[in-house]
Symmetry: C2
Subunit: 139 residues, 2 copies
Amino acid sequence: MVKKNKARCTGCPISYALDTFGDRWSLLIVRDILIKGYQTYSEFQLSDEKIATNILRDRLRELEEFGIITKSKDPTNGRRVLYKLTPKGADIAPLIIEMVRWSAKYDPDTLAKESTLKKIENDKEGFINDLKARVKQDK
Amino acid sequence: MVKKNKARCTGCPISYALDTFGDRWSLLIVRDILIKGYQTYSEFQLSDEKIATNILRDRLRELEEFGIITKSKDPTNGRRVLYKLTPKGADIAPLIIEMVRWSAKYDPDTLAKESTLKKIENDKEGFINDLKARVKQDK
């Protein structure tokens, strides 16, 4: 994966972001941790998008290689692995929030909650900081 | 493509955004129009990422189907086709700007200009509005 990234690297910041986490499944995993508070492999499998196990395994490995997530043993259950966002990963939050805003505007079938959207419009920075703080507390 | 999108649709706003323009190449095309001011097929081929012609053709078609771009004849050259962002497409700007900010922070080899980053940090809304206004003027 690092090799693939190196080959593509053009110095363009948009290209860099897309090479690092711009895969659909990767961003859904970041969403699962950031918004849904998921931390385990089996939780990721619960998501409505039904990620295949081989893709999930592959994307978790890539996200770890790119420093977006870390893997650790659950202190309450040594056989369970917890996936958490690094500060670099949590900093994807503003981008995810812009996705939410865009979709809420253009998707007639959106399930984005009115109350959440209001919170974002009233205080976007505060909303993002709350999300990031929650991820941090989980550590 | 519409069928594929329908099949994936979960109502989640992040999933909707990813299904609509979340492909790496699609977002690079949006970047080319929004940031670089490209409008033609041959301009898109100039980009450093070297998009293959079949992928370019395919993604332009998809972006048009999803209402992100429109296709029109160049009034100064009837044989040339111009691709422009719709308002829905231009509204992807905030998301692209968050990608720029994230990469500028984490990519040691970023080519993002210091002056551009300063403008974004000082007045993000203004920067985004300028980008969108420029795209609009091109019409």
